[in-house]
């Protein structure tokens, strides 16, 4: 069927990614989920397929393509049924590095962005702290001016790729008196003295994701590793949230889509009272509701992505897409388990995982409540 945002080239790319995922990821899904780990060399494999620089310009090794190629990539990557792994990749290429591309120096881009695109370095974002998430102004990590650079102190939590990142975009207070106007972003090499990774965090879902606590103890960051301007970090973060939130929407919808397809296939085969449960109206209507809500969520996310790609300020639409898609996906994965009945509650059925994995999305990249706050302000309610 024709799709507004997708051309024949997008479709060809979809086939390539799907074949790649079926051959290279699907066979490992159970093993990697159980191990809560996968080889870091996967980033190189993805890079060799030109998957890690889809939207970045060719001069940095990217493909210079529109956001819908990226969306195709994630929609297919989530078919691996390893949302944790997908999140690691998404943070690396679409959440951590965009700020470097937008506000970094030419030298930083040539040296570090290219490394990410080639799969030679993995990136993380270090914004969240034990006491500050979306309330970015409340961070306590500090960066004090020193000879030739800054000295970082503090800690971060829930950092995706934290256990194995080669570089982290760290937010720290350069002027404690100035609140949100005193935050600066730094590109930290994780080989820097004084940097330590705490424990790998055990989570409800996203088991293949590498989430950690990070500590900075007098980490020296040279001048040329400041991202953008001093004290402008807050604005860069807010701007970056838009990409992060739309990609999060795309991710959670892709995750729920797989759960929906699993539920439909199961319902057509599972027999009760002499016929497949898909022919019992209660189940049929449930599946219809799941598909309808998911389709509506997807189209709003596509619209938000398109606005973002056009360079529009789509904060309201993207916040709505994030709010809606994460809530819908939680409902869809919840219902998918209901369709599977007792089997759905069993660990060996992927819908059980999908349900746990979907749960993260109403929290990560800004909670449902924060989304509503943003939308309320944009509606002129406050």
């Amino acid at each position: 069927m024709k799709q507004h945002f997708f051309t024949e080239e997008h479709d060809m790319f979809r086939k390539s990614v799907r074949d790649f995922v079926i051959k290279n990821l699907v066979p490992h899904a159970n093993e990697w989920e159980e191990a809560e780990d996968y080889p870091k060399t996967l980033f190189k494999t993805l890079a060799d397929m030109n998957f890690l620089g889809i939207r970045y310009p060719e001069k940095y090794g990217g493909m210079g393509l529109d956001i819908f190629y990226d969306i195709v990539f994630y929609e297919e990557l989530y078919r691996s049924r390893m949302p944790g792994l997908c999140l690691d990749v998404m943070v690396d290429t679409d959440m951590a590095t965009p700020v470097l591309f937008k506000h970094g120096t030419e030298e930083q881009k040539t040296k570090y962005l290219t490394k990410m695109i080639k799969g030679d370095a993995v990136f993380a974002i270090g914004y969240t702290e034990p006491n500050a998430g979306s309330d970015v102004a409340g961070i306590r990590s500090t960066a004090k001016k020193a000879d030739g650079g800054y000295v970082l102190n503090g800690s971060k939590i829930f950092i995706t790729n934290g256990t194995w990142a080669d570089y982290i975009i760290v937010a720290a207070k350069t002027d404690s008196a100035k609140g949100h106007k005193g935050i600066t972003l730094f590109l930290l090499d994780t080989k820097t003295k004084g940097f330590t990774v705490g424990r790998k965090l055990k989570k409800l879902g996203h088991h293949t994701s590498h989430t950690a606590e990070l500590f900075f103890d007098d980490c020296f960051v040279p001048e040329n590793m400041i991202v953008g301007e001093i004290n402008k970090g807050f604005y860069y973060i807010m701007e970056g949230f838009q990409t992060e939130r739309i990609m999060g929407s795309v991710g959670v919808i892709a995750l729920a889509q797989v759960a929906l397809e699993d539920a439909v296939n199961y319902a057509k085969e599972r027999m009760t009272f002499g016929k497949p449960i898909s022919q019992h109206q209660a189940i049929a209507h449930k599946l219809v509701d799941m598909a309808t809500q998911l389709e509506a969520a997807r189209q709003l996310a596509y619209h938000g992505a398109w606005l973002l790609d056009q360079g529009e300020d789509a904060t309201k639409e993207i916040s709505m897409a994030k709010l809606n898609s994460c809530e819908v996906a939680n409902k869809v994965t919840y219902d998918a388990i209901q369709v599977f009945g007792g089997y759905g509650y069993m660990e060996e059925y992927p819908v059980a995982r999908a349900y746990r994995d979907a749960r993260m999305f109403t929290i990560g990249a800004g909670t449902t409540e924060i989304m509503k706050e943003i939308i309320a302000k944009r509606m002129g309610l406050y």
């Binding site: 069927m1 024949e8 080239e9 060809m12 790319f13 086939k15 390539s16 074949d19 790649f20 397929m49 030109n50 998957f51 889809i54 493909m63 393509l65 190629y69």
Partner: protein, 250 residues
């Protein structure tokens, strides 16, 4: 070295097909169409030969405008250019061989590679017919293809009942690709983007001077009979008796 490869548009082998109510053909609405999997293998082999020998890979497709979608997919894998034979109407394997013969006479390729059969009608005839019409040597069902150093011969390993047969054919020749010949590559993102710019020449059957006179036509499609439920046998003796007298297999 110039290699000509054929690409046919077929319904997705994984799609669940339904027959039109009048039985004339399958219902195509909502069905996904793909490159015939054996043709994908043929394209891959052509690309591998090209990468070793240098040269050009030319893709040919026959049919309505929509077949260029599958041709683009072959170009995205790395083929250099396409020839689209625009033809609306029905045709059989012999017509295809006739059309391809004209294309070969114009293009003069060193090797022609076809999939061993298309997975829609499973005829598997066009390759043989083409070789016969051209008077070229042929090696069907190839599982391995090696080109000699002087580029004059191809050593082709074929899968036959009970083993392998190795044939040596002089170029130009016709080869048909079997399942185990290779694993087709993914169309890489850079190649997908390049495919749009690659030249596709559109020709008509008339311009080629080919005659299309189907000798084989589809009379009617019907679904295979529904499987009936089995029966439980009481004892091994029962089973043996049934296998002997009813199934007549022992």
């Amino acid at each position: 070295m110039k290699i000509l490869v054929t690409v046919k548009r077929v319904s997705d082998p994984e799609a669940k097909l339904k027959i039109k109510p009048d039985g004339s053909w399958i219902q195509t609405e909502g069905v996904k169409f793909v490159v015939n999997p054996f043709d994908e293998i043929a394209v891959e082999e052509a690309l591998r030969i090209k990468e070793k020998q240098t040269g050009e890979v030319v893709v040919v497709s026959i049919g309505e405008k929509v077949v260029t979608e599958q041709m683009r997919a072959a170009l995205a894998m790395g083929a250099d250019r396409g020839i689209f034979v625009n033809y609306t109407g029905s045709y059989d394997s012999y017509d295809v061989a006739n059309i391809l013969q004209k294309v070969v006479e114009q293009e003069k390729p060193d090797i022609i590679i076809l999939g061993k059969q298309a997975v829609d009608d499973d005829m598997g005839a066009a390759g043989f017919m083409l070789a016969e019409l051209l008077g070229y040597p042929q090696a069907a069902f190839a599982s391995k293809v090696e080109i000699s150093d002087d580029k004059k011969k191809a050593k082709v390993t074929r899968e036959i009942d009970g083993g392998l047969e190795v044939k040596e054919v002089e170029l130009p020749c016709v080869i048909t690709a079997d399942l185990r010949l290779n694993t087709p590559r993914y169309a890489s993102l850079p190649n997908i983007m390049k495919a749009k710019q690659k030249p596709v020449k559109e020709v008509t059957v008339d311009a080629l001077g080919a005659a299309v006179k189907p000798r084989v036509t589809v009379k009617k499609l019907t679904e295979p009979p529904k499987r009936k439920g089995g029966v439980k046998v009481e004892s091994v003796q029962d089973l043996v008796t049934k296998l002997k007298n009813e199934a007549k297999v022992i």
